[in-house]
């Protein structure tokens, strides 16, 4: 308290030093614009108010958009994290070591495929003239169309799961590796069966990691714009696409996009906070690995 204000400011300047460039950059590109967006969403012509939120949340069209976005993301997250857990479990406990480096590199590559290229790759596979569509028809007489459409929620679900499954696998792997050989030896020595070990030790240790990756994949799917836009050309009602329409195509009330965006921020931020809390909890088991 004895330090005078200018001195304290000078000292904190020196403490931040060249690292300040990072903080200024992130403030100018993310923090300030987001703060402005939140302010803009409540700044109505009649003064501050929640009008836009009530408009958005009572409009059946946007409500359906939210329901679609939640439904698609929950389903995708459940499938991707379950598949990721199966992959991580079999990778950690059953696969020969020789294949592991290659499979890790492959998963890294697969999870980085996404956006427009992945959407188009699925059109080449399952579009009306896709390889699988033609193959199933010519070989087995099975017609994918019109029962299925790649430019639909079912198609989006397949594409999202494609790159979120290896992502879930890569994040879950350390947790599965954290279950040590000695633990089961100790359990077996004390007279437990394998299934008892998994029920009382394995699963309780692993479930926070599973929940964490479920939340993370949900947030990712919930916020995805590029894949959905490229695959369906905006023909499905998802909230990220609606935001894109509102401010891209000079629509009637573009400020509604601000309210939709803030509702998305709230959802995804809660997910990230929950993810951090859960992964801190899991890190207890992984410290010594």
């Amino acid at each position: 308290m004895g330090v005078s204000a200018p001195h304290a400011i000078g000292a904190s300047f020196r403490a931040v030093g060249p690292a300040g460039a990072f903080f200024i950059y992130m403030a100018a590109t993310l923090v300030a614009p987001t703060a402005y967006l939140i302010w803009s969403s409540v700044n109505t012509p009649a003064g501050l108010g929640l009008e836009r939120y009530t408009t958005v949340l009572t409009d059946p069209f946007y409500l359906r958009g939210f329901r679609n976005s939640f439904g698609l993301s929950l389903l995708t997250a459940l499938e991707a994290s379950a598949a990721g857990a199966l992959l991580a479990g079999s990778f950690a406990y059953t696969l020969p070591i020789r294949s592991k480096r290659l499979l890790l590199a492959f998963s890294n590559l697969a999870t980085n495929l996404g956006g427009v290229s992945l959407a188009f790759a699925f059109i080449a596979l399952m579009g009306t003239n896709g390889m699988l569509t033609i193959g199933l028809r010519e070989l087995f007489g099975i017609n994918l169309y019109p029962g299925f459409d790649v430019a639909s929620f079912a198609g989006l679900n397949l594409v999202y799961v494609y790159h979120l499954t290896p992502f879930a696998f890569l994040i879950l792997l350390p947790a599965f590796r954290g279950i040590r050989q000695q633990w089961i030896e100790a359990a077996l020595t004390l007279g437990a069966t394998r299934s008892q070990f998994w029920r009382h030790v394995g699963v309780p240790v692993l479930w926070p990691s599973f929940l964490a990756i479920f939340i993370l994949t949900f947030a990712n799917a919930f916020g995805t714009y590029s894949t959905a836009m490229a695959l369906t050309v905006g023909r499905v009602n998802l909230i990220p696409l609606q935001i894109g329409f509102l401010f891209g195509e000079a629509a009637f009330d573009t400020e509604l996009a601000d309210a939709l965006a803030v509702l998305m921020i709230i959802t995804t931020s809660l997910c990230i906070v929950a993810y951090r809390a859960l992964s801190r909890r899991t890190s207890i088991w992984l410290q010594n690995t």
């Binding site: 690292a19 614009p33 402005y36 059953t94 499979l103 590559l109 579009g127 590796r177 490229a230």
Partner: protein, 293 residues
Amino acid sequence: MRPRVRVSQDRGRDEGLGLAPALSRAFGSVIWVAFVSYSLLPLLATVLFSVSEGWVNTVFPERLSVASYAALFREPLFLVSLGRSVLLALGTLLIVTVLCVLLVTWIHIRSPKLAAPAEMISLIPFALPWVVVALALVRFYGEIYPSLLNTPLLLVLAHGAVSMPFMYWALDNNMKAINARVLYESGATLGARWDQTLRYVLLPNLGPGLTTGGMLVFASSFGEYALSRLIVGAGWATLPVWQASLINRDARVTSAVTVVAITVAILAALIITVWMARSPGEVAARTAEEGSR
């Protein structure tokens, strides 16, 4: 009939052996075969489509040809948009590398207290869907500096912001692994300034972090669509934006673009890896794994 097979396979397994009985080993292989097939099928379909001719009623293409690639190079926007995307990714890489090297160096040698706020800020791009980032930037700069709207400059700034965490985490892990603080103190004892330590001691040891971070940053910027479409759109169409606009065109040409886009992303990853592998750095092997978390 072949009693030795099981034994020879077991030698290759790691310490987790006792956790899973034999039945689940077969199950594990089945799962991985299914996953790898699912991952390869769309890529295989795209490559086949791009070199096919007359593929309507047969399981595989009747004839193969490179006509779609020739057609691709006749498209005026192909090389232009490809060039823009490469430029954009390199610009993003430059911004992110400079800012993160300065930040991480300072955190590890001078102000560890900055680690907590930096960690928190690097989570923001994950809490914000990119469509929201685009909207916020357009709203904010539309208000305070409208001439920045619709420019590649705003786009590269946006790319830098959302890909910052990849580089930050990679370099942060790298610095922890090389014990940067101890190196800095040794340098200071010998009379080196902090920038000299950075130049001659720390940077040569940051190869693994720069590689993994750089790969992720380049790949994500090169293939990025949401920000590009919403910030500059058709006015400065990047490869993904141009690619997406081809949706109702000849599927062979769109498949050829997709093959090129995926190939460039993979090549960039390989080139950075090879280039970095030749740079000095004793801890390369040890930190590569940590940096890629």
